[in-house]
């Protein structure tokens, strides 16, 4: 405990770095997954190929990705951009299916009414399908957030600063307290992400609580 207090500023710095490395890809991944999921939900032949491809991306080991990306992107190995790109790929892998499922979960009679009012393509996506898919997408985001927080810690193996450092460093020094601090800090960070996503999702979906009100 005293170790944690002594190192509070370092913990906070690394937590901030961790949050950035895990959080920014969540946003970027969502931005990419939305159009992909939309395409997948509209065209049945695209659906299969898109979902298989993005699903496969998730099976690439993170360490391999962190090491391979610099040669693909032309970045330095220590450049945090590698981690951001890798995490974005994982987020896209997780979210594309969720977005596609969310968008196609709209009640058929609601969809038909929308079509009959002359809502076409993008307008229907924006005004009807997307708002109704928010709860499903938020659930997917929560999974992706936890997954991101845990995968980012692996990046300490290639020397990029974040909470994972306490795990590798604590292990190297045989100092369990430091490992515990790293684990707990990761947990807390994941919780914060989860909370933020829930709050945003609730704010966007007042109608889901209408029945209870």
């Amino acid at each position: 405990m005293s170790w944690a207090l002594d190192h509070l500023s370092e913990i906070l710095t690394r937590a901030g770095q961790h949050a950035w490395l895990a959080g920014l890809p969540l946003v970027l991944g969502l931005v990419v997954a939305l159009p992909l999921g939309w395409l997948a939900s509209r065209t049945s032949w695209l659906r299969a190929s898109l979902l298989t491809t993005t699903g496969l991306l998730y099976t690439i080991p993170s360490l391999a990705l962190f090491i391979l990306l610099p040669s693909i992107l032309g970045t330095k190995i220590l450049d945090p951009v590698n981690v951001i790109v890798a995490m974005t790929i994982y987020t896209v892998a997780l979210l594309t299916r969720t977005v596609a499922d969310g968008l196609s979960s709209v009640d058929p009679s609601t969809r038909q009414a929308a079509i009959a009012m002359g809502y076409g393509g993008f307008a229907r996506f924006r005004a009807v399908d997307l708002p109704l898919a928010v709860p499903v997408i938020a659930a997917g985001l929560r999974v992706a957030a936890v997954s991101n927080v845990s995968i980012v810690s692996v990046a300490s193996l290639i020397g990029i600063s974040q909470l994972g450092y306490f795990l590798t460093d604590g292990y190297a020094r045989s100092f369990p307290t430091e490992v515990w601090v790293g684990i707990i800090a990761c947990l807390l960070l994941a919780l914060v992400f989860d909370l933020v996503i829930q709050v945003i999702s609730r704010a966007l979906t007042p109608w889901t609580r209408a029945v209870a009100a």
Binding site: A113, M117, G120, A210
Partner: protein, 393 residues
Amino acid sequence: MIRFEGVTKRYGDADSGSADGGSRAGGGGDQGAVAVDNLTLEAPTGQITVLVGPSGCGKTTTLRMVNRMITPTSGTISVNGRDTASMDVAELRRGMGYVIQHAGLFPHRTVVDNVMTVPRLLGVDKRQARARAMELIERVGLDPAMARRYPAQLSGGQQQRVGVARALAADPPVMLMDEPFSAVDPVVREQLQNEFLRLQSELGKTILFVTHDIDEAVKLGDQVAVLRVGGVLAQLAPPATLLADPVDDFVAGFVGRDRGYRALSFAAAPELSLTDEPTVRLGATAEQVRAVGSPWVLAVGDAGEPVGWVRAAAVDHEVTRDLLHRGGTVASTSGSLRALLDAALSSPSGRGVVAGDDGRLVGTITAAEVVPAIEARRTATTAGEVPEGASTR
């Protein structure tokens, strides 16, 4: 006027033209199943044309071809003389209200926002669209306080009313309605039907209405198109003609039993001489009731409106509402022969109660007195003088 000319829809074509986002398209193995077969039909302006027929006979397909949610395989559909195929699809659809079975309200929008949808899409400013929406919400019989609710907070019948209000919001000349009242219980359905007829009498829209319920078709339609499986038009006729003169066994079977009796709904009650009925007021004493000298005595309210029959022997002190017999129906002088006959048949005294348009008692009539009027009508009808427009609903 909506006009179908030789319209055929065959599913399973290369271009199935379904607007469902491809969910059903391409799934059908039965290559080239004909859903609508060479349909030629006119839905006159300002009238309700009902499409009725057994499940799978192509009613929904027919309806959705009008707003091009489904593309016809061949033939043309025109609305007020304009070929729909040549129109911009969004413009076409926004000029038509569309109401479906489960209302299809947007769950994420409040009632008033749902109703505002099409006017907003058409560029009407927010305040104006809202005012119009509030007016419509009241017009379809909803409490304005419900405007802020979400659809999930409404009953099925209330949602259906919102669906109707939403379809009416942009004041489209044409309404397409696909079994709009079939998902609610019979009591609410009847309410919705009656209010729908009242609204239509004010608005005079050109309506294409789909149902599989022949009673609903006969009640609501100015004309009824009966379709048979395979999408072939079997008969197009006003309801009275449909009941009186089905073209073939299929239509006769579909129109169903009690046709003769139900056809009386469309025959206006003739001016019959009614019998004066002695009455007592609610609250009358046992002596006053027995003084009438009849086993069943008709009670009236303060305004002279008939409230029910009371059995003289059952009155101990005075006539109270809970002593009233509830079985008898009241016919109106401006009602139908069916209502008149029903009033007589349902009355415990055998004397059917007839009230004027103001609700006050006019007199009573027995079934034996109604039957000659029915006979007289039949003679007149077979002589070729169909009392058209005698529709009384």
